[in-house]
Amino acid sequence: MADDVILQLNNVESAYGPVKAIRGVSLKVSQGSIVTVLGANGAGKSTILKTISGIIDPQKGSILYRNEPIQKKDPAWIVRQGIAHVPEGREIFPLLSVRENLIMGAYTRPMGEKAEVEREIEQVYGYFPILKERTGQPAGQLSGGQQQMLAISRALLAKPTIMLLDEPSLGLSPKLTHEIFEIIKRINAERGVTILLVEQNARVALKYADYGYVLEVGRIVMEDPCAVLREKEDVKEFYLGIKDSGVRGTRRWKKKKTWR
């Protein structure tokens, strides 16, 4: 894991006003991998991503991208370095057409790459054929799943080296969630885009990711390759909802998380 680390957070602390959202988070993402951060509502998962993409400035700690510090830089600059953010709740432009949304994804690229952008829009339509059918429609008319596809495609148009995905499964059916994760996996494999994925849906995230972190109330409490995490008792019980209980069952109220 330690080799060719592309993104590294060292002891990062961020807050919304007086409320500390993440307290000393350190994590590493190596090139070409899919890394996931699991956690419940309000654990600070989105804050991690927002801090990386410069929407929030961290109060402490450093963020290294290709061994260069990127904290407290302008979000536009960070996008240009190759870090694209797919925000929680899609955040598409509702009145722009699907195509115009995609063009906005490529906003930071120089004007001279217009032909290339056109070509890439076609490639992206290859991943999500439904978007091609709806290319002229206002994005606000798309269904939730289609909007998620659009949000991912839009980020791809920025030609990212690393993509930050914030809860892509939010509000989607299990079937659609799997479809989207299959494509995320394909994007990772075919384009070599590194993926940092934040999820509440631990089951699906652990299935597709290589390495995982567990975040609780702003702190990383556990990290391991996903194959290991999947087998851990605590993760099973508290994030996957599986219990290997005996005939009499475990008395749940006595069970404590072992990491505290």
């Binding site: 929407i55 600059w77 432009f93 509702p94 722009l96 906005m104």
Partner: protein
């Protein structure tokens, strides 16, 4: 019948002016969700700039026209940078008060400039008092110029917003500012540009209106009638602003002719009240509510 058409024509011309000022309101409202109450005063400053261009500098009218628009474009951007941006994140009320303050300031300062002062001025135009006859209809050139220039300006803005990347980015920013940040769109610079365009559009309205009325420090109060135009069209809709302007202009002109004296000035507000009762979102109002 001929008289009716005659009235419609002058109503349309008047409506174009309202429409342009309303457009200025709408552009800023869409981009920054604040109402710029200095819009009418920006128009007034534009009128005075045209006056200075033609009289003091001796430029040909159209050159002065374009120069005034350019100056106002930069003035609008400077205004955003100096007054509005420091208030970013403050409640809407604060921002609105700041724009009202800018309006007062503009009206006050203009009267202190020696050549401008408190007098009413006539903006000399090359097409003064010219008349075009179509059938039996007698149209004044001033009205035709208003309509033609408005149409050109609208076409230009349409092309900008629909077919250029920066124009699409302006729309994107107004629809979802946070997402625009995520895409690396320079939101602050875009807002500044919007203020510039809005100020230039207002100045255009002022320069078109000047030959019909006069240029004076209080001409900006016409903004109070453009406001209903924006509401009728559905605040936040660009075509709505123009259609609203045309409706207010035509209704006002007809009311001034057919109804007893006094109705001309209140006609616009009656239209707004009716509109708010019947269709509170306005004609082209977007029904997109903010989602949490």
């Amino acid at each position: 019948m001929l008289q009716f058409l005659q009235l419609i024509a002058s109503g349309v011309a008047q409506g174009c002016i309202y429409g342009l000022i309303a457009l200025g309101f709408v552009l800023i409202y869409k981009a920054t969700e604040t109402v710029n109450f200095a819009q009418g005063d920006l128009m007034m400053v534009g009128g005075f700039l045209g006056l200075t261009g033609t009289l003091a500098l001796g430029l040909p009218f159209w050159a002065a026209f374009v120069a005034a628009l350019a100056v106002m474009f930069f003035f609008g951007m400077a205004l955003e940078r100096a007054v509005l941006r420091p208030l970013l994140g403050q409640p809407a009320f604060t921002v609105v008060m700041a724009t009202i303050g800018v309006g007062f300031l503009a009206r006050g300062l203009v009267t202190m400039i020696p050549e401008w002062g408190t007098d009413t001025h006539v903006l000399p135009v090359p097409y003064k008092d010219e008349i075009v006859q179509v059938g039996g209809l007698v149209l004044s050139m001033e009205h035709l110029v208003v309509i033609a220039v408005t149409a050109l300006l609208i076409l230009g803005l349409y092309l900008l917003f629909k077919h250029t990347r920066i124009g699409i980015a302006m729309q994107a920013t107004s629809q979802n500012q946070l997402a625009a940040f995520y895409m690396g769109i320079p939101v602050r610079r875009i807002n500044m540009l919007i203020w510039g365009i809005s100020a230039a559009v207002s100045a255009c309205a002022g320069l078109l209106l000047a030959p019909i009325t006069f240029v004076h420090a209080n001409m900006g109060f016409i903004g109070l009638k453009a406001f209903p135009a924006a509401v009728v069209g559905g605040f936040g809709s660009i075509p709505g602003a123009l259609v609203g302007g045309l409706i207010i202009g035509i209704v006002e002109t007809l009311a001034g002719f057919y109804l007893p004296e006094g109705f001309k000035d209140i006609a616009a507000y009656i239209v707004v009240l009716v509109m708010l009762a019947v269709k509170p979102n306005g004609l082209f109002g977007e029904n997109l509510r903010k989602k949490v």
